[in-house]
């Protein structure tokens, strides 16, 4: 089950798949996202609580036909320009979207992970989201008569996560901010994981978040695979790059040039990091 990133994406992600790349600010599987672009996947239905820079790149590069999400921007910086361009001007192609609140999308992942067809929350009340997203429905509490919102369970074909460690057997350790990673991972039909390192024995105190290897489809070791996001215990968030991304992504030509040079122009993540360093985009 331990393989290379390129083999993992080639084997397990098909054009047209529903794919979730999760990681809430932390442990975002950027390298895997770049590999989806590099392998020119098309017509993906992308799912993510917070489509930030990685989805900006995926959408701008033309991999996506649809997006399910709750918040799409460049965290702490501003707009996700490529996402905006897709929605506002259908560039590079039209994008349909299904919009939730964080609690609603979290409930949808949780339902998927639990094998239930829907999730329940007290949510969407008094908002226009209810009308904008026709998949939001209601159930009536059999005890109190209260009407509660429901969301359909999310079952992506593939979820991709980044984590700190896997052991030789393929057990995966996630440390720090965990977001909805476990739920998104267990909701999917296939779970792909990139990790900072493969170790003999996980550095996992009791009650750590560990996914047993038989719940994981494939693993690839990709050091710095979350850059410019971060991996607690390994490296910090590259806030400077998130700011730089604002400039790069504002302009279609500059964006295309970035993707061509750093993603299509390299064969893997390590080479991309090297080229970014050579160009002064990384220290």
């Amino acid at each position: 089950m331990i393989t290379t990133l390129s083999a993992m994406i080639a084997s397990h992600v098909r054009d047209g798949d529903c794919v979730a790349l999760e990681g809430f600010t932390h442990l975002i599987p950027f390298a895997a996202g770049h590999e989806l672009i590099r392998q020119r996947r098309r017509d993906l239905h992308l799912v993510r609580l917070t489509p930030d820079v990685i989805y900006d790149q995926l959408i701008g590069a033309g991999t996506a036909r649809a997006l399910t999400f709750a918040w799409g921007g460049n965290p702490g910086v501003g707009s996700a320009h490529r996402l905006r361009d897709a929605i506002e001007h259908a560039w590079p192609q039209a994008l349909s979207w299904v919009e939730h609140s964080h609690a609603g999308l979290a409930a949808a992942y949780t339902a998927g992970a639990s094998g239930l067809p829907f999730g329940v929350l007290r949510g969407y009340l008094g908002t226009d989201l209810r009308a904008a997203n026709l998949s939001i429905a209601e159930v009536v509490c059999p005890y109190t008569g209260e009407r509660l919102a429901t969301v359909p369970a999310l079952r992506p074909e593939v979820t991709i996560l980044h984590a700190q460690q896997a052991d030789q057997a393929g057990n995966v350790l996630i440390r720090g901010i965990i977001g909805a990673q476990k739920e998104a991972g267990l909701a999917a039909h296939k779970l792909l994981v990139t990790v900072e390192e493969i170790v003999e024995r996980l550095d996992a105190p009791m009650n750590s978040v560990v996914l047993p290897h038989w719940s994981v489809t494939a693993i690839a070791c990709v050091p710095a695979g979350a850059w410019p996001s971060y991996a607690t215990g390994y490296y910090a968030r590259d806030n400077a790059f998130y700011v730089t991304w604002d400039e790069i992504s504002r302009d279609r030509q500059r964006f295309v040039a970035f993707v061509d040079r750093y993603i299509h122009g390299t064969t893997d993540h390590a080479q991309m990091i090297g080229l970014l360093r050579a160009d002064g985009l990384l220290p």
Binding site: P75, A103, L129
Partner: protein, 264 residues
């Protein structure tokens, strides 16, 4: 305390927002100005303020202002880290949050918020990031503080999209949602402070900043603004408030410009 310094409207707004937080409250913090105000309050009058970020970091004490809602500093200084489904279900929806701190692109006279689109939803002229956790915070935090720079384009008569409920159409309409949250307790702009009136729940101007005239506030509002009989003049930021805020922002800039080191 002297108040001799000059300060910006942003600083006044941040200081004002921080003053509204009460020590010991459980505060669900959004990124940006809410985070600055909450962390300022912790360093001034509310050392026991409990900060929860929606990244699941509970009782966190960031050493600098986080750029994102899930910076590593938040995890390293938190009392507990829980999953995102848990933070929304067990902590927010269950009614354990006293104050939710929200920004937005547009607010209307009843404190309803738009952070979704400008223009039609399906063909927006400007697609904004969207609600994220705000619709949930707006429903379930016992009270909400809204912070927003003021102009006729942000203080609007009619929202392009209602992302997060304030008092809906006012006059008790929100109560019919039957949720734990009581709605916006105050709106803080770079001009002054607005609170819901008791009867209609329409926001009215209750306080202005030093040197800001009521007329300019009315002109910066996209609806006919109700003005309280007595509009208080807020005291300017104290030397201490400004010093602590500026130190925090300086530390934040330094921390965020520090080059990262990748393991490859």
């Amino acid at each position: 305390m002297s108040e001799a310094c000059t300060y910006t409207a942003d600083e006044m707004m941040t200081v004002m927002a921080s003053r509204l937080l009460i020590d010991g409250q459980v505060c669900f913090v959004g990124i940006g100005l809410p985070s600055a105000a909450a962390n300022l309050a912790v360093r001034l009058h509310a050392p026991a303020l409990h900060l929860i970020y929606e990244s699941g970091t509970i009782d966190t004490r960031p050493r600098v202002l986080p750029l994102s809602i899930g910076d590593g500093d938040l995890a390293e200084t938190a009392t507990a880290i829980v999953s995102l489904p848990e933070v929304f279900a067990y902590w927010l929806q269950a009614g354990r949050v006293d104050v939710g701190f929200l920004g937005a692109a547009q607010v209307d006279r009843f404190g309803n918020l738009n952070s979704t689109v400008i223009g039609p939803y399906d063909r927006p002229t400007t697609r904004l990031p969207g609600g994220g956790g705000a619709p949930d915070i707006a429903l379930h935090a016992k009270q909400v503080l809204v912070v927003l720079k003021q102009s006729p384009r942000s203080f609007v008569a009619r929202l392009d999209f209602r992302s997060s409920p304030g008092f809906l159409g006012g006059s008790g309409e929100r109560a019919r949602l039957r949720v734990g949250g009581l709605g916006p307790a105050a709106l803080v702009s770079d001009y002054g402070v607005f609170k819901p009136s008791v009867d209609t729940q329409e926001l009215e101007l209750v306080a202005r900043y030093p040197g800001v005239e009521v007329e300019s506030i009315v002109n910066a509002t996209g609806w006919p603004l109700r003005v309280a009989a007595h509009v208080e003049v807020v005291s300017a930021p104290t030397v201490e408030e400004l010093q602590v805020l500026r130190d925090l922002q300086q530390l934040t800039r330094e921390a965020h410009s520090r080059p990262i080191r990748l393991p490859i």
